[in-house]
């Protein structure tokens, strides 16, 4: 688990960095619409109406993979991180177990939600 936290952490530096780059540098937060989200998820990062012009096309599969990996990594890293803060307060076995359940369930909910979002904008 501890190792996974590190691995996802390092992965997130790139994935989340990329996510920020796409949303804020390339597309721009004000320009997000359902239509261009569908475009990105279905066709990948391609040339279009961007703040910064994209010169290299990114294949659809790569973009989809990055989105789903980002989802999985960030949910795990975030929820496990917060759970660890709880454990560190040494609240006793019972609350520790409760916290583990709580964050596991929350993670699953978030993952499902994330996949649904992905599915909503996936229109080949």
């Amino acid at each position: 688990m501890w190792l996974l936290q590190r691995v996802t952490g390092v992965g997130l530096i790139f994935l989340l960095g990329f996510h920020f780059a796409v949303q804020h540098f390339i597309v721009g937060a004000t320009n997000v619409t359902a239509a261009n989200t569908v475009d990105r998820i279905t066709y990948g990062l391609i040339e279009g109406d961007h703040v910064i012009p994209v010169t290299i096309d990114m294949s659809a599969v790569m973009y989809q993979a990055s989105a789903l990996l980002l989802l999985a990594f960030s949910v795990f890293h975030g929820m496990y991180g917060v759970h660890n803060i709880v454990v560190e307060q040494n609240p006793g076995e019972k609350i520790e177990r409760l916290s583990r359940y709580f964050f596991t369930v929350l993670s699953v909910v978030l993952l499902i939600q994330g996949v649904l979002i992905f599915y909503a904008f996936f229109a080949p």
């Binding site: 501890w2 190792l3 454990v87 560190e88 307060q89 040494n90 520790e96």
Partner: protein, 256 residues
């Protein structure tokens, strides 16, 4: 940190004049709440904080309680929180910390009286890592367990630990999580972990002992322990090495 003895002795005669100390006072029979008391003492170049405290006790207020013994940074009885940092009072010159000298008992420890804290829990933690030599077999008559000088080099620094509790007092995970053994105990564990005379089995056992959710992974590399250690030990480094090894061990297990 280490002020050389000769240096302070040579300057010992030079007065630096009077120094103000603010000392944490708590006498359970009299006070409901702790308070701070100001004292002024004459200090010389080489006056340590412990000297000043003894001076106060001898001349101004005999009720002041402070634990000390060797006065030479060997016994570890007088670790205190002096001007924002855990230090040994006997190893800290009054002039090096600046005025007023604010003296408190170790944070995260319970206070028994004045500057004296309850070390019981700290000793429990030290004991929890089984700080005794566990050879793979009983020695035969006349048999000695010899350690190679190279192997001994690994533990040169951690062996210097004087159980003063400064590091454990500085560590916030150790403060919130009683089951986390804290830097001192983990550095102690490292001392045995690195001792190759105990053999592979014992090595693995020692790691296993530290590996649960409240074990080595609770270290958040605050480096406070390393900063405050009066003996220049780096518990952080020891913990990092053990957690790295523990992870490696687990990975090797998966491969099989």
């Amino acid at each position: 940190m280490a002020t050389t003895q000769t240096e302070s002795e040579a300057d010992a005669a030079t007065e630096v004049g009077s120094v103000e100390l603010e000392v944490f006072r708590y006498v359970p029979e009299e006070d409901d709440e702790p308070r701070f008391e100001s004292y002024t003492v004459d200090a010389e170049e080489g006056t340590t904080v412990l000297d000043a405290l003894i001076e106060i006790r001898d001349t101004e207020d005999a009720s002041l309680t402070v634990r000390h013994s060797c006065r030479m940074a060997r016994c570890g009885s007088d670790a205190l929180y002096i001007n924002g940092k855990q230090r040994l009072a006997c190893n800290t010159l009054v002039k090096e910390v600046g005025e007023p000298v604010k003296v408190e008992p170790l944070p995260r420890f319970d206070v028994i009286r004045d500057l004296v804290v309850d070390m019981e829990g700290f000793y429990d933690r030290m004991e929890a890592v089984e700080p005794w030599f566990q050879p793979s077999h009983e020695p035969e008559t006349g048999e000695e367990f010899l350690q190679s000088p190279e192997n001994r080099k690994n533990i040169d620094t951690v062996l210097d630990c004087i159980w003063c509790g400064a590091c454990t007092s500085s560590c916030s995970p150790a403060g919130t999580d009683d089951r986390f053994k804290g830097p001192a105990a983990l550095a102690k564990a490292y001392r045995f972990y690195k001792d190759e005379r105990e053999g592979e089995e014992a090595r693995k056992n020692r790691l296993r002992l530290l590996e649960d959710a409240h074990g080595i992974y609770r270290c958040h590399t605050q480096f406070n322990c390393t900063e405050v250690c009066p003996k220049g030990i780096s518990p952080t480094e020891a913990i990092m090495e053990m957690s790295r090894d523990a992870t490696k061990q687990k990975l090797a297990f998966w491969r099989r």
